[in-house]
């Protein structure tokens, strides 16, 4: 289980790839994250994460056409795989469980004082 755990940035990248659905490649993913999360994402960090996720089998890559503004270089599109979806689900479940547990603890602490 621990092996398949997603890091925070990884999770954001996976979710963004999911949101972009079919138009997820380096530049769009970067822009999407930057606009939604209001944080700077370097190409290096993003590409490292993409590569890692692809190696884990959570993302699948296929190459697309090159365009004028890319100097003819092809795009590398990403999509979330089935196991990627499971991993995302696991991640959300864990979060939910933690949230559920947390309210109790806060309550207990308040009673104690």
């Amino acid at each position: 289980m621990s092996k398949n755990r997603l890091g925070e940035f990884e999770e954001i990248v996976m979710l963004t790839v999911g949101i972009l659905h079919g138009n997820a490649y380096g530049v769009t993913i970067k822009k999407e994250i930057e606009s939604r999360a209001d944080r700077k994402v370097s190409v290096g960090a993003l590409q490292t994460a993409l590569k890692r996720l692809e190696q884990k089998g959570y993302l699948k890559a296929y190459s697309g056409e090159g365009t004028q503004e890319r100097a003819g270089r092809p795009k590398r599109f990403y999509s979330v795989t089935a196991s990627g979806r499971t991993a995302l689900g696991n991640s959300r479940d864990l979060r939910n469980e933690l949230w559920a547990a947390m309210s109790k603890v806060i309550l207990d602490l308040k009673l104690g004082h």
Binding site: V43, G44, Q47, G66, R73, K75, R76
Partner: protein
């Protein structure tokens, strides 16, 4: 467009490090971002952001993984392919491969042998860990020349203690001498060489654990230390410790220690070590600064400058001043580094014959010449063969081979040849090293297994030779234009290639001819020495040496008994023999001498039969005779050289030394030929003159020498029962004098033959190749009516011109170098131009034969076959 591109160097940097699988995609992203930023932010900031992006991409996940390994694997595959192709082409052209491998193997074998020899010769005395602290103290006696040298390797007994006391930098000083003494064991006498030293020997030449024990043993004159092989020889497998040996048949020495044999590469050798007090002349030398019968060695503090000691030794003038009062010269002492002695010291009275650094340089240059010849051979053959491979290279290029890949292909092939040759050469060297040791009279070990460094070095040389030899044909053929190569126009455009190839053949033959001329001249000089009139007869003269025992009292009886033996015609007793007379002195008394004049003269003490036995001619006066009793004390014979030196025209009756001159003999050679005949006087041998130095010489009849020597042995047994019997023929000993030169000549001759062989082999290969190329041409010529002779002439002409040119180059070089070599001899053969021309003609003949064999073969082939070829 260019204005809108991101910085090129960053792109290149990115391409260099990025995982090639991802590179195009990420680069695309970068471009896309750059374009956007270019519009939003302007070029400068877009550039900056771009640079930051790329730098941030430089992280483990993005960097190409183990790309180096992949490259290596790729190269390995290529090299594997090169190997495959090389092996195929080598096995396809068996003849060329054989010629190449044979030439290279010969060259490398010579190189390995010579390298081992040089390594051995330069390893002398370096086995002591403190070798750089060891020095020998030798003497310079200005004004006292012996055989043209005024430096002497000996010193007096008094020197070592004085040096130890005077010079604080001297850690230890020892007096020693290597001396042959008679040992009697089981009633059998043998002369054995040993080391006679004082107890400090083990401090100077420290050998570890044994030092303190050895020191104690050397303090006892009745003790002896044996080497393992000596103990084995005398006592077999029994323990030698505590056993006794009889020195000179009278003094009993107890074996108190056994040491390892001294290494062969040490400048003094011994079978045993005993106290220097056992030297026969020890007691008469104590305290005398002018009794130079010993050698002094010192061990200095590490890092001491030897000149400091030399300066300090000037204080010894106070002792030598009085000791040398009656001499015309005074000695000064100087230091010689022990590891340098073997190769660099050439002074009088060395312990043993040393090596000569000049011969080492010569050997090294021969090794390189032969290696060069083999290498040129390869280059030539490969280059001429490469024209046949033009098509192959052309197709390779068309299929996309890069130039360095084609070069690689050639290099792999040449390195492969040199490695095969190296393996063969090592085997050959292993088999031949005993032969070399015998010819050069050395004991070079074949110890490559124990010295991986040397082996690696030799291997490296082989590899480098392979690479260098391969480089020329590689560059030559890889430079071709594929279209020309495919059209077969290769050869026509390679004019300069032919020129270079021809110069290589010329170089090769010049070197071989130079060596050939040199070896013929060396042979001539040796022949000259052996056949030159030496002024006396050495035929059928046998001598016995007695340098230990006083035979004087018995001489009349021995003579009488020996003369009774059938076959012995004459018997004479003499101190020195006319081989390498060492007795010399300075005389300052003769008739008509002016003040301060001195005569430096050699001396010999003989009897009245000496002149008859050696057939030495008298030019004036008379020989010694028993009828004149005065002869035995103060009458002298001089040689003509002495007369010339004294300026006398007639000598008989003149006052000389402590007596008068009674006769003058014709000059004869009493020393080797590198020295001129110098003044000599001969006195009558008597009890006071050289008591322990003596030779019995016998003139015998030819035939039955064995029987005669057996008789002599029996006779001598009755007079000197314990003396070993070791008869020598004058003639053999005479030749022995020139053994170094003869060994040198022989080795030189062998190397010359190898060089000639390699050169011819190269020529042979070249001709064969040229003929293959001209197969069709020869066929057509024959069809059109050319005779075999026409064709042979046509083919040979080119090559013979080259050999002729080589001869013209070689003759002056050889002339000059042989002039230099002959300078060392006082008597030398003439250099005739005829010999040089003869060698040149022979070389051309040899080349013609080499070329001709192949040419005749090609010319006599059926022209139909020729025309059908391809």
């Amino acid at each position: 467009m260019h204005r809108h591109d991101p910085p090129q160097f960053m792109l290149r940097f990115f391409k260099w490090f990025c995982d090639p699988e991802l590179h195009p995609f990420i680069e695309g992203d970068l471009f896309e971002l750059y374009r956007e930023r270019l519009e939003e932010l302007g070029k400068r900031r877009a550039d900056r952001r771009f640079i930051i992006d790329v730098l941030l991409l430089f992280r483990p996940g993005m960097i190409r993984r183990l790309q180096l390994l992949a490259d290596t694997l790729y190269h390995l595959t290529m090299i594997k392919n090169h190997f495959k192709i090389s092996l195929r082409s080598l096995s396809k052209q068996k003849f060329f491969t054989a010629v190449n491998v044979a030439g290279m193997t010969l060259g490398l074998t010579c190189f390995i042998l010579i390298a081992l020899y040089i390594r051995y010769e330069s390893s002398f005395d370096k086995h002591y860990p403190h070798a750089d602290q060891l020095y020998r103290i030798s003497q310079l006696q200005v004004g006292n020349d012996l055989r043209g040298k005024n430096r002497y390797a000996f010193s007096p007994l008094t020197l070592a203690p004085a040096v130890k006391e005077t010079c604080p930098e001297v850690l230890a000083a020892t007096t020693l001498e290597v001396h042959k003494a008679l040992f009697v064991h089981n009633e059998q006498g043998l002369y054995e060489e040993g080391l006679y030293a004082d107890e400090a020997f083990f401090e100077v030449f420290s050998s570890g654990d044994f030092d303190s024990q050895g020191k104690a043993i050397l303090q006892d004159p009745n003790a002896i230390i044996l080497t393992q092989s000596f103990a084995q020889k005398y006592f077999g497998d029994e323990s030698a410790m505590g056993k006794e040996l009889l020195l000179k048949g009278e003094q009993s020495l107890t074996v108190k220690g056994i040491v390892e044999d001294p290494p062969k590469n040490q400048h003094f050798q011994y079978d045993y070590i005993t106290s220097y007090q056992n030297l026969p002349w020890y007691s008469s030398d104590i305290g005398f600064w002018n009794h130079n019968n010993y050698r002094t060695y010192v061990r200095l503090k590490p890092g001491t400058d030897p000149s400091i000691i030399e300066t300090q030794m000037q204080q010894f003038d106070q002792y030598t001043e009085s000791a040398y009062r009656s001499f015309s010269f005074k000695p000064t002492y100087f230091l010689q580094s022990v590891p340098d002695i073997h190769l660099h010291s050439d002074i009088n009275f060395e312990i043993a014959a040393n090596g000569d650094i000049r011969y080492l340089y010569l050997a090294a240059s021969i090794a390189f010449i032969i290696l060069l010849l083999a290498s040129i051979n390869y280059m030539n053959l490969a280059a001429s063969r490469s024209s046949g491979q033009a098509l192959q290279v052309g197709i390779r290029k068309v299929l996309g081979a890069r130039r360095n890949q084609i070069i690689q292909q050639y290099l792999v092939e040449s390195v492969l040849i040199s490695l095969i040759s190296f393996a063969l050469a090592i085997t050959l060297a292993y088999l031949l090293i005993p032969v070399m040791n015998q010819i050069l009279n050395v004991e070079v070990p074949f110890d490559l297994k124990q010295n991986p460094l040397v082996l690696t070095g030799l291997l490296a040389v082989a590899m480098v030779i392979g690479l260098l030899s391969g480089l020329y044909p590689a560059i030559l053929s890889s430079a071709s234009k594929p279209i020309l190569a495919l059209k077969g126009k290769w050869f026509k455009i390679r004019r300069e290639g032919t020129l270079l190839r021809n110069s290589l053949v010329v170089g090769q033959f010049s070197a071989a001819i130079i060596l050939a001329i040199c070896s013929v001249v060396i042979y001539q000089q040796l022949n000259f020495i052996q056949s030159k009139k030496i002024g006396y007869s050495r035929d059928q003269v046998v001598y016995l040496s007695y340098n230990q025992t006083n035979i004087n009292p018995q001489t009349p009886a021995i003579r009488q008994e020996l003369l009774r033996t059938p076959g012995i015609k004459n018997v004479s007793f003499a101190n020195g023999l006319p081989l390498n007379l060492g007795c010399n002195t300075i005389i300052n008394a003769w008739e008509g001498r002016t003040e301060e004049e001195e005569l430096y003269i050699y001396c010999n003490y003989i009897d009245h039969n000496f002149l008859d036995l050696f057939e030495i001619e008298l030019v004036e006066g008379r020989n010694f005779s028993p009828a004149h009793p005065g002869d035995t004390t103060n009458h002298y014979l001089l040689n003509e050289a002495a007369l010339r030196q004294l300026g006398w025209t007639s000598a008989v009756g003149k006052r000389f030394r402590d007596g008068t001159v009674i006769g003058v003999v014709k000059d004869f050679h009493f020393q080797p030929f590198d020295l001129a005949i110098e003044p000599l006087f001969m006195g009558y041998r008597n009890a006071n003159r050289g008591r322990y130095i003596g030779h019995i010489t016998m003139k015998i009849e030819g035939g039955q020498e064995d029987k005669l020597l057996a008789d002599v042995k029996n006779t001598m047994k009755t007079f000197l029962p314990n003396q070993p019997f070791d008869p020598q023929f004058m003639d053999d000993s005479y030749h022995q004098l020139y053994s170094a030169e003869r060994r040198f000549g022989k080795a030189f001759g062998i190397f010359t033959l190898i060089a000639l062989f390699i050169a011819c082999m190269g020529l042979f290969g070249l001709v064969s190749h040229r003929l293959v190329q001209r197969t069709k041409e020869i066929g057509i010529r024959k069809v059109l009516g050319a005779t075999v002779a026409n064709i042979v002439g046509m083919v040979s002409k080119d090559f013979l011109q080259l050999v002729l040119l080589s001869t013209l180059i070689a003759i002056p070089v050889a002339w000059w170098s042989m002039q230099q070599w002959l300078q060392d001899f006082a008597y030398r053969t003439e250099l005739h131009l005829g010999i040089f021309l003869l060698i040149g003609v022979l070389a051309i003949g040899l080349a013609f034969l080499t070329v001709g064999v192949k040419a005749v073969q090609a010319a006599s082939a059926n022209p139909m076959d020729n025309l059908r070829s391809e």
